[in-house]
């Protein structure tokens, strides 16, 4: 290794650790905001230019599926499924004589901020997107994000002045308290490395079946209740396991989502120890 190579390697290693430390201390937030301000128009143009190529490649890899039509059908399906889920939930709430006013007090007015997706995480590991709304628009960390069809998309995990990062529900770090609408079984919907969803901690006795709706339960205070996450895709249970293995299909088309709504009226609660 030449002295020059050694010097560059040392510089890269030191710069990496210094930048990571500075980012942890939020020192770099203004720089990140300015960078996204400057580069997002360039990124938007690049995305527009490469989209036809991407669609062509994806059509080939999707065995000829027409992705635009597919996207539209998924959006329609998401909206209709959400309406159905909400209607069912209303019926269940009325049947079980839950005072809706109590729910209304916890989640009084749905105030949303519409945003466009401006950037996506570059690794194959994380599921993070950036939107063009930040603290100046009333967007803050912890607020939840839904799709145009009102399905759960994720949580604001970092808010800059005019941009924010959303950790999608499919991210391996995401965990959402959830309930199966039909059986009222509770669990936690967690993201996976392959951008799929699992519902964990569903007891062996719970009557969960394919096609059941999965909604946020509101337990823990991080998410408001009754927001549709998806539908049960598969259920597997073995005698040896404590819990059933439930996989969930998310309703929102997260891989190519372009517009989202940030629920700015919801303030997440942090539960304290009793």
């Amino acid at each position: 290794m030449t002295p020059r190579t050694l010097a560059w390697t040392g510089f890269i290693a030191i710069a990496a650790f210094v930048l990571m430390a500075a980012s942890r201390l939020t020192v770099l937030d203004p720089v990140e905001n300015v960078t996204l301000n400057v580069t997002s128009p360039v990124q938007s143009v690049m995305r527009s230019v490469t989209r036809p190529v991407a669609d062509w490649v994806n059509n080939i890899t999707d065995a000829g599926a027409l992705s635009a039509e597919n996207r539209k059908l998924r959006d329609d399906n998401e909206r209709l499924t959400n309406d159905l889920a909400r209607a069912r939930e209303d019926a269940i709430q009325q049947q079980s004589a839950i005072d809706l006013n109590t729910v209304r007090q916890a989640f009084p007015n749905d105030v949303f901020v519409a945003a466009s997706v401006v950037s996506r995480d570059t690794s194959s590991v994380r599921s993070i997107i950036a939107i063009n709304r930040g603290t100046s628009d009333g967007v803050h960390e912890g607020q939840i994000v839904v799709s145009e069809g009102r399905s759960l998309v994720g949580t604001i995990t970092k808010a800059f002045d005019s941009y924010s990062w959303i950790t999608l529900i499919t991210d391996p770090k995401s965990a959402v308290s959830a309930i199966v609408q039909e059986s009222r079984s509770e669990g936690v919907v967690a993201g996976n490395y392959d951008a799929s969803l699992n519902m964990e901690f569903v007891g062996q006795g719970a009557a969960v079946k394919q096609g059941d709706f999965v909604l946020t339960s509101g337990v823990g205070g991080g998410y408001p209740p009754n927001i549709v996450i998806g539908r049960v895709a598969t259920v597997a249970k073995t005698e040896q396991d404590l819990f059933q293995r439930v996989s969930v299909d998310h309703l929102a088309s997260l891989s190519n989502i372009e517009y989202v709504l940030v629920l700015t009226s919801f303030v997440p609660h942090k539960l304290e120890k009793p």
Binding site: I12, A22, Q43, S119, S124, R126
Partner: protein, 166 residues
Amino acid sequence: MRYWTGAAVALALALLQASSMQQFKVVGATPNLLLVLLVSWLVVRGLDDVLPMIAVAGITIGFVGLQTPGLVLLALLPIVGLGLLREMHVIHSDLLLVLALVAAATVAYESIIVASLVATGGGYDVIAALRSAVIPAALVNVIITPPVYVVMRLAKPSSRHNRLAY
């Protein structure tokens, strides 16, 4: 001058990677054109030429690619070790060498991202990470390597540039 060119190419590719490559998701993995280009550049031009590009690309992606700034820089650092392997001339075919190095660099890159995720509390199923993210990413990157490598070879301004070693 060539360093400025390399830095400009790295900057443009970092923006392209952040803005567009997610649209090309294949078998659940996003092609990392930037990583493939850096490794191809390493094989064609050598370690000294690729180091400034790693710095520029890593810092840029850190700010526009939604990873913690510095993490991508750290994830690209194993390319230096791979550059030292290249100097040993263990594999004599340049194409085989670049394919092997891209696979190794991708595994190292994605593994560092996974390690950071685990260290900050999440994604503890490392086997699932390997199966669902790291290996598919390596495969996709290996698939896109040959055309990138050929372009790099043809762009090399030296007397050797017309000799494609397969």
